[in-house]
């Protein structure tokens, strides 16, 4: 059996520079090994397992921090400009998409303002964010790096940023969105004189509540019903949609060519890519709810397809790259 932390160290050495390994990763692994050895020596099996898990989580955090820091601190002026453009374009696109998603509720918002309940506006924002993040970042990456060769450092920085957005997206989908949806529904029903509290629908259940409901139906006659399929699909979709930001960012990096591209080509790639992603999600949903495919397969279909396409695009770029003179 390998010493605790050796595999983590080997993994980190693929991603971090020598200085980061010496100054950050090795001290972390050394402390982890000592703590682990002490736990094993005292016979604390569960503590030793916990130390390995905590060490792994800490190392991932270190890699993310160092990756982001090296990308943002050590990049060239052109890389900094491209990142700044990406962040600006992404922010503008995300705000525009949130506004677009709120548009159908304009009348309700007017009512809320009249009733001096402006915070209702906040309840509607979370539903737009998991859509705005992936599309906004895809547009931001494609236009931020337009006409530039994307260096490995920039790719790492973009992917770090995308993973961070995915993590935020997950928190929104798992906890914030269900709570906001429920508050919004209760407000609407109260406005029309209905009795609250309301029973929660699938979209108003948190991840833990969804999981609990699925489990409660597992060994009953309802196990294969459309209700359980809907709950199961919704559960997997929360995870899958949270990953959409990272997956579409990878796709955008794959699309960015070595030659400058016209705005309309990139615009088409951004719109086409996002449209294809959500079409696949819709198809996956229909197939899963119809019972043709398992719920997790339907929910993860767009991510799997887009990761494969992105890998193919990135591999083709590498194979067509001119060899150094």
């Amino acid at each position: 059996m390998t010493r605790a932390g050796n595999r983590l160290r080997a993994f980190a050495s693929r991603l971090c520079c020598a200085e980061t390994m010496e100054r950050v990763v090795d001290p972390l692994i050394a402390d982890l090994q000592l703590e682990y050895a002490k736990a094993v020596h005292t016979g604390s099996l569960w503590r030793s397992r916990w130390i390995r898990i905590a060490g792994g989580v800490a190392l991932l955090k270190v890699i993310a921090l160092c990756g982001g820091r090296s990308a943002f601190d050590e990049g060239t002026a052109d890389e900094h400009r491209a990142m700044a453009r990406t962040i600006t374009f992404s922010a503008v696109a995300m705000c525009a998409l949130v506004a677009l998603c709120e548009a159908p509720y304009w009348r309700t918002l007017q009512l809320a303002v009249q009733a001096q309940q402006t915070r209702m506006f906040l309840y509607l924002i979370p539903q737009a964010l998991p859509i705005a993040f992936p599309i906004g970042l895809t547009i931001g990456i494609l236009f931020g790096f337009r006409g530039r060769v994307v260096s490995a450092r920039s790719k790492r920085a973009v992917l770090t940023m995308a993973v961070a957005w995915s993590a935020i997206s997950f928190a929104i989908l798992a906890w914030v969105l269900p709570a906001a949806n429920q508050s919004y529904r209760e407000w609407v029903f109260r406005t029309y004189g209905q009795i609250t509290p309301l029973l929660k629908g699938t979209s108003e259940l948190t991840l833990a509540e969804l999981s609990g409901q699925i489990e409660s139906y597992r060994h009953t006659a309802m196990a294969g019903s459309s209700l359980v399929r809907d709950l199961t699909f919704s559960y997997h979709q929360r995870w899958s949609l949270a990953c959409a930001t990272a997956v579409l960012a990878l796709f955008a990096l794959g699309v960015l060519g070595r030659r400058p591209s016209a705005r309309w080509t990139l615009g088409l790639a951004a719109v086409g890519g996002c449209f294809a992603y959500y079409t696949l999600l819709f198809l996956g949903r229909s197939a899963a709810l119809g019972g043709s495919v398992p719920a997790f397969a339907g929910a993860w279909l767009p991510n799997v397809v887009f990761v494969l396409v992105s890998i193919l695009l990135l591999a083709s770029r590498q194979s067509t790259a001119p060899s150094p003179a």
Binding site: R23, V24, D26, Q33, L34, A54, K61
Partner: protein, 101 residues
């Protein structure tokens, strides 16, 4: 004054320096334990690296105990610059409490 930047000290850096001044030298995990969860093991090593670059702390390697084995541990101690910066920031914080926040 162009080209001369005032030394800065974040709250985490200040806590690390306080602990190092109090205990003379500590390794990363001891800092996490001594801080009563105010420092996290995922960020303490990155902060220590940054502090070493700023010249606030110095480090040396110490072999792991033979019965435990593994990589040598890195032990950190405050430098004279670190002590002075901590002293200056502590005085400033005492004079202007809102500055400390």
């Amino acid at each position: 004054m162009r080209g001369h930047r005032l030394p800065t000290l974040s709250r985490k850096e200040s806590l690390i320096l306080e602990l190092l001044v109090r205990h003379k030298e500590l390794y990363g995990l001891q800092l996490v334990a001594e801080s009563r969860r105010r420092l996290k093991r995922g960020t303490v090593y990155v902060t220590l690296q940054r502090m070493e670059e700023k010249g606030y702390v110095a480090s040396r390697l110490e072999d792991a105990p033979p019965e435990a084995g593994g990589l040598p541990r890195r032990i950190y101690q405050p430098t004279a610059v670190g002590r002075r910066v901590l002293g200056a920031w502590t005085s400033a914080a005492r004079l202007m409490p809102e500055f400390a926040r």
